[in-house]
């Protein structure tokens, strides 16, 4: 067997999209991803024509049209040699222009590279990278294939592998030790009810007005027993911070972790983890924003994300079976591992897991939730880490790493689940893509672009939990 011999050969020749870019498929995609961006439904500014979600690019090419005999031969050769499992690891998409309803895509791709045999955590195998060029023409308006203009390119890397011998129990989301439980009694039950409802509640004395935390049945300032709970706005600052190195209980992961004392805008302090960043990056004085993270079936905790103009507010996406299956179907990805738990187990996974197109779609949604609809997404490049299984929850965080000319921003995005980082990547956008967006660009500069309406509309449309603080904390 010599898989490297396939390098440079075509993997798709004259592929043709099976369907025109169309509103129903866009709607299914948006519903599956929980993406309420009005730019995709025509609910945006009057007269603005709907566009397809940029991250959907690959979905229009699915269905194996034009797939080359070379690619099939390579797959067969690897299957026969025992490298029968496949997992997507990277997806890099460049978007030359938006796709609009009525367009038909045309595409060609090459086998850009086949790696030498590699040992990975999943097993031993070969990384295969394909690069696709995609063009499109407005067939509904009477254009012909010859009128097609470039819409983007798509580099895709998969690992064809022989699964490693699995030891012990499967790495499902419920595997592993749990964090210590909260200590709850009649005096502080209201706090934990608040956490379950996505609120961080402190107490305020009815008589002297003093805010207090931790919860106690009486006021230390005046002794009054009368009080009411209040929900924190979510804004705060790191007041103190440690990094725990030893002991490192397994429930807290393999790496030293940061614990912060956060002073909330309301003046009370709480001990919590700062997430979505490295332990070293957390520093006293940093502004943070409240979020919530689910650690296991019972335990949800308030957490904090770094805040400020260069930080995207956090987004929580529960990984339901529905999300995994509907995301796979909306992206026309019928691999069994994304919808059939029994077959997924037969292939060595503990359960079905999210496909890369859904991960990509969620990254796209997360970014445009923040920028607002008037944005040109120029590229999304992601790498997958640990799989996302049902019952998990992805916590997206992001930051602006570069501010270029003409409203160009480079964003670093991470989506973290209970097992670790599921997806990390870079998204390039242009926030003043249209004249209209000029006003919005100011908001972006201050990091206050995500408004209550966006977050809540998403909640309603899909029933997916977004981070409550995203909406609440921002008076913008």
């Amino acid at each position: 067997m010599n898989p490297e011999a396939y390098q440079g050969l075509p993997s798709t020749v004259a592929g043709v999209g099976l369907d025109l870019v169309n509103a129903p498929m866009i709607r299914h995609w948006c519903e599956a991803m929980g993406d309420a961006n009005p730019a995709y439904t025509g609910a945006g500014p009057a007269g603005a024509e709907p566009i397809a979600p940029p991250a959907m690019l690959q979905a229009w090419t699915m269905g194996q049209s034009g797939r080359s005999a070379h690619f099939d031969a390579l797959m067969r050769e690897l299957d026969a040699a025992g490298y029968a499992s496949v997992v997507a690891t990277d997806c890099e998409q460049q978007y030359a222009r938006p796709l609009r309803i009525g367009e038909r895509v045309l595409f060609d791709s090459d086998i850009e590279s086949v790696s030498a045999k590699k040992r990975t955590a999943l097993g031993t195998g070969y990384f295969i990278t394909t690069r696709m060029d995609i063009r499109a023409y407005d067939e509904a308006a009477g254009e012909k294939p010859g009128d097609a203009t470039p819409v983007g390119s798509h580099r895709f890397r998969i690992l064809k592998f022989q699964p490693a011998e699995r030891s012990g129990r499967p790495q499902g989301v419920d595997a592993g030790p749990l964090r210590p439980r909260p200590v709850v009694n009649r005096d502080n039950a209201g706090y934990w009810e608040g956490v379950a409802a996505g609120e961080l509640r402190f107490q305020r004395c009815d008589d002297c007005g003093t805010a207090r935390f931790p919860w106690l049945p009486g006021c230390n300032a005046c002794g009054s027993a009368r009080w009411h709970p209040e929900a924190a706005s979510g804004a705060g600052e790191v007041y103190s911070k440690v990094v725990v190195h030893h002991p490192l209980p397994p429930a807290f992961g393999a790496e030293p972790y940061a614990v912060a004392l956060v002073e909330l805008a309301e003046g009370v302090r709480i001990v919590a983890n700062v997430v979505g960043t490295t332990a070293d990056a957390v520093a006293i004085g940093m502004p943070v924003r409240l979020g919530f993270r689910r650690y296991d079936d019972e335990l949800m905790l308030p957490v904090f994300h770094l805040a400020g103009p260069d930080r995207l507010p956090p987004l929580r996406v529960p990984v339901t079976r529905t999300l995994i299956v509907s995301g796979a179907i909306a992206s026309r990805d019928y691999q069994e591992v994304h919808h059939d738990a029994e077959l997924a187990r037969a292939k060595g996974a503990p359960d079905i897991f999210m496909n890369i197109l859904t991960s990509n779609g969620l990254v796209g949604r997360y970014v445009t939730d923040w920028t607002g609809p008037d944005v040109r997404v120029e590229s999304i490049a992601i790498r997958l880490g640990v799989p996302a299984y049902p019952g998990d929850e992805l916590q997206f965080s992001g930051e602006v790493t570069e501010r270029g000319e003409n409203g160009r921003l480079v964003l670093a995005i991470r989506g973290t689940g209970r097992l670790g980082v599921h997806v990390s990547g870079t998204v390039k956008v242009r926030v003043n893509a249209t004249d209209e967006a000029a006003g919005q660009a100011t908001d972006k500069a201050t990091g206050r672009a995500t408004d209550t309406a966006t977050g809540q509309a998403t909640d309603k449309a899909t029933g997916q939990a977004t981070d409550k603080a995203t909406g609440k904390g921002d008076p913008a």
């Binding site: 009694n185 725990v244 190195h245 002991p247 919590a272």
Partner: protein, 394 residues
């Protein structure tokens, strides 16, 4: 004692006997046996017998009850027995309780003790996993799910704020560890006998909970320590020169928590020790300038610096400079923990430090401060706590 007025306990009682087991990582015997051995050793040191004892005081955290220690130590009827709460914060308060009992005639000879297999048995440093939903459990419970599980982690959260406030690096804790270990190196009873360290050793030691390094943290110990307290009058007839309790005080701050007082003031001080300090100075009529040597509770180095500030040995934020260049070592500005402290000798919840205070006044310390007449001893830091001023008789 009082928050506002000097109390009248001073000069009434004295520590007349000190006794301890060996300090080890595995005692090979029960905590009760360690307690009884320590009590006997302290009585022997005082020249008293179990028959003289009518009072016992220990920590709520101790597993050996007063009555059982009495039973196993050959002590008969007791007219006074008491326990003090909050871990190491209890240490000096056991002597305060004993002194109060002696001063009021409630008891004549009281033995204070603390014994545990903290290293070979249950280790504090291994971290909490669960707590009962009592008020105390709930109080500790706020910090457990996010992962503050050990004393080191609770202290570190204060220490980080202290460093930030004064623009200092974690290296400023080094001189505290170096002083302790220098003193321990000369103390045959110390776990770290003949094992001094340098500032470079400190700076190179691994992180436990940033900003605390390994050498900022005491080691858990197996062992027992006991102290005999009786009236000054009776003390004058006994074997050793008495260590007079010139003042004894407990202190808890406003909005005090057991070890997690993160929700009050600016975290750069130890308000509960401020209560203790004011009362000790007021009641003894002494001040920081009168102290010849101090035993400052040192389960973790940062709180030694904060104690120097709370007791007025230096100004706020100045303790790092005070401790630098051997400031806490024998011959320095204020010799501290001449037995080696809990970092160097043993972690006996502060009780071994009281014994060192007594030795300094007797002139029998292995690191003797010349003509030491006045010793300050403190108990657990970061918790509701206590302190003593011990002086020579007359």
């Amino acid at each position: 004692m009082s928050l506002h007025r000097a109390d009248t306990l001073g000069g009434r009682a004295a520590v007349v006997g000190i006794g301890a087991t060996e300090f080890s990582k595995d005692s090979g015997r029960s905590e009760l046996k360690l307690a009884v051995e320590a009590v006997h050793a302290a009585l022997d040191d005082a020249g008293l017998t179990p028959a003289d004892v009518d009072g016992l005081v220990t920590f709520t955290m101790d597993t050996s009850p007063e009555i059982t220690v009495a039973q196993a130590a050959g002590i008969g009827e007791l007219s006074f027995f008491s326990r003090v709460h909050y871990g190491g914060g209890a240490a000096c308060a056991t002597v305060q309780q004993a002194a109060m009992a002696v001063a009021t005639g409630v008891a004549e000879v009281v033995v204070c003790y603390r014994a545990f297999n903290e290293r070979s048995g249950h280790r504090f440093g291994s971290g909490l996993q669960a707590r009962q939903p009592s008020a105390e459990g709930v109080s500790m419970g706020w910090t457990m799910p996010p992962g503050l599980l050990t004393p080191a982690s609770w202290v570190a959260l204060h220490a980080a704020r202290y460093l930030h406030t004064y623009g200092l690096s974690p290296d400023v804790f080094g001189p505290v560890a170096v002083a302790d270990r220098r003193h321990a190196a000369a103390n045959p009873a110390a776990y770290f006998y003949r094992r001094p360290i340098t500032l470079a050793d400190h700076a190179a030691s691994r992180w436990i909970v940033e900003p605390l390094r390994l050498l900022d943290c005491c080691q858990e110990t197996d062992g027992g320590q006991a102290l005999v307290v009786t009236s000054v009058e009776r003390a004058r007839d006994l074997r050793h020169a008495p260590a007079v309790v010139a003042a004894a005080a407990q202190g808890a701050g406003r909005a005090q928590e057991a070890m997690t007082s993160f929700y009050r003031d600016d975290l750069t001080g130890l308000p509960e020790l401020g209560v203790v300090a004011r009362q000790l100075w007021r009641s003894s009529g002494l001040g920081p300038g009168d102290v010849d040597t101090a035993v400052l509770y040192d389960h973790f180095t940062p709180f030694v610096l904060m104690q120097l500030e709370e007791f007025g040995f230096c100004g706020r934020g100045e303790a790092a400079a005070f401790a630098a260049d051997g400031g806490l070592e024998l011959g320095g500005r204020l010799p501290v923990n001449t037995h080696g402290g809990q970092l160097g000798e043993a972690y006996l919840h502060g009780m071994n430090g009281i014994a060192e205070g007594v030795r300094q006044l007797r002139g029998s310390s292995v690191n003797q401060v010349a003509e030491a007449k006045t010793v300050l001893v403190t108990a657990g830091t970061g918790v509701p706590t206590s302190g003593l001023v011990l002086t020579c008789d007359g």
